[in-house]
């Protein structure tokens, strides 16, 4: 049953990684303009050279 310790540690580490990533994104303003982000994806490929 010692394997449960590893599994618990791994699952928590993965979850914590996601949490840290989200907090990082929030801090860097990734959620400031949801509407713009949805539109931008449609035109970034053919912007001016």
């Amino acid at each position: 049953m010692i394997v449960i310790l590893y599994l618990l540690a791994i699952s928590l580490a993965l979850g914590a990684g996601g949490l840290v990533l989200f907090l990082w994104a929030l801090r860097h303003g990734q959620f400031e303009d949801m509407e713009g982000a949805a539109q931008r994806i449609l035109f970034d490929d053919d912007g001016p050279a």
Partner: protein
């Protein structure tokens, strides 16, 4: 957006740049649009026209002469040789506009950042170099037809953005904890039936505790602080039972973990916070968006004032910076920015002032030098100078501000439904839990069994569904109304609107359209001919005339004499459109309202009369309100002879005219004492105090600044129907909220006996709590489906 709204550049009857309707035979409606089109093509950005979707509710993309707003004071120097400037954008139609603006800015040298935020409709510029470059950068965008208004980022960056971030962080932590705790808990529950060893279960409980304790301490903070704040003031709200429930259950579970007990409830506590925070975040988000949109409406209107220096030079500065005694120039067709007295009209004689937004008086007045004018009035005549009066004087604005304060204080505090429920709910829950503990203990069970059953009662009754019942419906209603251009600014207004039984309208600018309308009786051909002159002017009457005529191509060689009229030389004389004197018409018969004359060589002079006009849908909207049982009344500051015909047209029998702001407040107080719950709809500065005195208030987005700030709801567009829409959405929302509360509390009634009897285990508690919250949320979504 319909396919018809997508405008290919080739469509003949629409301007190739701004997409507005215009006369056949040309590609552009005005030279400004032609220049903008050429500039865009020259930069190789012509794809813009293929991919854009014209939004008819947004200001058209027609370049207008800049009003010379002083940018320098909004530019923030960052110290390292760079400057930043934040601007609000008017005219943003769709994603293609974002692309166009950013592509144009990308060509500017030394620009470090030029990014549009489409959600907030704002542009952030950051460049290397001095503050003086701002005008050039802004000019690049303004010549395309967008209007940019700078704003003070520090003043507008409210605490609400920070709160939103704090709630989101708490939500993330709660989500992380709830997910992982549920994972571990399922292992524990499975282990209970499959013979998991005590040591393993103990380990799982300890891991749960290590995750749960810091997460609950952090994610619960918004609730704990709010609960502590209201308790200190001797009141209670929904956060009090939430906080007590979460804290007690967590403490209980910790004790069980230390004792090596069978049951812990960490997962329920974390999941509860997670659900509640989702509601909080959404609630905060939609409210913020509505409030910010309302701020933007006002911000886009704010203009500078032209100050005349001692040497006659003109200098533009912000309204707030105008010193008392300063001489201010008010151009033709401009709004007066500050209170003051008329100094001298440029052409001598009197100044023609439309004060409908201030006093509710629908007809413009000729004011002699020395007469008082108020901020918000419109100059319909020639340019004039005025002397700004000292602030704090007995001006109309100061008087109204004082009345608004008094009315808001006497109105009393509205207690939200959720808080009223919490007041009754919390004591019942806590007494039941205590009684459960006592009963089990007296019946001889061990103290820990008694405590476990009491904890189960707390978990089952923890008001997750009750606390979601109100905000989820409000989020859906506020978001739905937002998309219709109805901005709910106050958090409790939806509940207040649901209780309304009487609607009181103002006349000028509320029931009637803002501004004046052309009276009928002119042949289309004549109108078209006059419009070809009128389109060249920015004068409000000329604009009204041009709009009434429909698309018209401007005639060439038009000369405008400010304050007098427009003229064009043709073989045989001059065509003139303008004032009575300018067109050489005698003073008789005396004018009975604003007018324009149109003279052509060899033809009889024509008179265009202007008057206020009822909003298109006013009669229908009022009939609809009456049919749904609302009493309707009209309270106007205008003269009785102006109010009577409008009241008759609108179908309002119950009207009063000639009311001062004080009279209006008194009338509303009287209605309130008679037990009426009144919704006041008004736009003028003189309506401000009445709006504050009413149970709920609405104002159109054309209303004066003070009035919009007071109003609970601001609605956009040319129709009055949003009043009925807001009322009916509020009614439906109220019904759903009550259903939700019955659902949530009914569930408690069924589940509490099980908890008291000791049949509720952690997995049952988790299942019951989630299902009741889900039921409430699903029920709330019916609001969207039926509207």
């Amino acid at each position: 957006m319909s396919v018809a709204a997508v405008l290919p550049a080739e469509t003949a009857a629409r301007c190739a740049h701004c997409g507005q309707e215009m006369a056949e035979g040309t590609r552009f409606c005005c030279p400004g649009c032609a220049a903008a089109f050429d500039a865009i093509q020259a930069m190789g950005l012509g794809r813009y026209y293929q991919r854009r979707v014209v939004d008819p509710t947004v200001r058209p993309l027609r370049p207008e002469p800049a009003d010379g707003t002083a940018l320098a004071r909004f530019v923030a120097a960052d110290g390292d040789g760079t400057c930043t400037l934040q601007l609000m954008i008017d005219g943003l139609q769709c994603g293609a506009c974002v692309w166009l603006i950013e592509s144009v800015l990308a060509e500017a040298p030394d620009l470090i950042e030029g990014r549009v935020n489409m959600t907030t409709r704002r542009l952030r510029l950051k460049w290397r170099g001095g503050a003086e470059r701002a005008a050039e950068l802004v000019g690049r965008i303004e010549r395309l037809g967008y209007r940019l208004v700078p704003f003070d980022a520090a003043a507008l960056k409210s605490a609400s953005a920070e709160t939103q971030h704090r709630l989101l962080r708490a939500l993330a932590v709660a989500g992380f904890a709830a997910g992982n705790l549920m994972l571990i808990s399922i292992g524990i529950w499975a282990g209970l039936s499959q013979g998991m060893g005590d040591a393993t279960r103990g380990l799982m409980h300890w891991v749960s505790a290590v995750i749960a304790l810091p997460a609950i301490a952090y994610a619960g903070l918004p609730f704990f602080t709010s609960a502590a704040a209201v308790l200190r003031r001797g009141r209670t709200n929904m956060d009090v039972p939430i906080s007590i429930g979460v804290l007690l259950v967590t403490a209980m579970s910790l004790v069980e973990t230390m004792r090596g007990g069978t049951h812990t409830y960490f997962d329920s506590a974390a999941a509860l916070l997670f659900f509640l925070l989702i509601g909080r975040v959404l609630d905060h988000h939609v409210r913020n968006r509505a409030r910010q949109a309302a701020e933007q409406l006002l911000g886009l209107r704010s203009t500078d004032v032209a100050i005349v220096a001692a040497d006659g030079a003109l200098e533009r500065c912000a309204v707030a910076q105008v010193a008392p005694g300063a001489r201010v120039l008010v151009g033709m067709g401009e709004r007066v920015g500050v209170d003051g007295t008329i100094d001298k009209p440029a052409e001598g004689g009197k100044a023609l002032i439309d004060a409908s937004l201030v006093t509710g008086e629908s007809l413009p007045e000729d004011l002699p030098p020395g007469a008082a004018v108020f901020a918000g009035s419109l100059n319909l005549g020639s340019p004039f100078t005025m002397i700004a009066s000292a602030t704090g004087e007995a001006t109309l604005l100061a008087e109204c501000a004082r009345l608004i304060d008094a009315a808001e204080q006497s109105r009393g505090r509205f207690v939200a439904l959720a808080d009223r429920v919490a007041r009754r709910y919390a004591p019942v829950v806590h007494v039941t839990a205590a009684a459960t503990y006592l009963a089990w203990w007296l019946m001889g069970a061990g103290w820990n069994t008694a405590l476990m059953n009491a904890a189960a009662v707390l978990i089952i009754t923890c008001p997750c569904a009750v606390a979601l019942a109100v905000p989820v419906v409000q989020v859906i209603a506020t978001g739905g109304l937002f998309r219709k251009g109805i901005l709910l600014k106050s958090p409790t207004v939806l509940e207040r609107l649901a209780g309304i039984d009487m609607v009181v309208f103002d006349k000028t600018g509320t029931l009637t359209e803002p501004g004046l309308a052309l009276q009928p009786g002119i042949s289309p051909a004549d109108l078209q001919e006059a419009a070809r002159l009128a389109v060249a002017s920015r004068h409000p009457l000329a604009r009204t005339l041009a709009a009434a005529a429909g698309p018209a191509a401007p005639a060439g060689d038009i000369v405008e004499r400010p304050g007098q009229g427009l003229a064009r030389t043709v073989p045989g004389g001059e065509i003139r459109l303008g004032s009575r004197a300018f067109c050489g018409i005698g003073a008789t018969p005396p004018p009975d309202g604003p007018e324009l004359w149109f003279t052509r060589p060899g033809k009889a002079p024509l008179r265009f009369a202007f008057a206020e006009r009822l909003r298109e849908d006013a009669a229908a909207a009022i009939a609809g309100l009456k049919a749904r049982g609302y009493a309707v009344r009209l309270l106007s500051g205008d003269r009785p002879e102006a109010v009577a015909p409008i009241a008759a047209l609108a179908g309002i029998a119950d009207w009063q005219a000639g009311l001062s702001p004080v009279d209006k407040v008194a009338a509303l107080e009287k209605l309130r004492h008679a037990g009426r719950r009144v919704l006041m709809v008004g736009d003028g500065l003189n309506d401000g105090p009445a709006l504050a005195a009413a149970a709920a208030s609405m104002s159109p987005s054309t209303a004066s600044d003070v009035t919009q700030n007071v109003a609970d709801v601001v609605f956009q567009g040319r129709l009055i129907a949003p009043v009925a829409t807001a009322l009916s959405v509020a009614k439906r929302a109220d019904r759903l909220i009550r259903q939700n509360l019955v659902l949530a509390i009914g569930y408690n009634f069924c589940a509490v006996p099980l908890a008291i009897a000791g049949f509720v285990t952690p997995w049952l508690a988790a299942l019951a709590m989630s299902s009741s919250s889900l039921a409430v949320i699903l029920n709330s979504f019916r609001l969207e489906r039926r509207s």
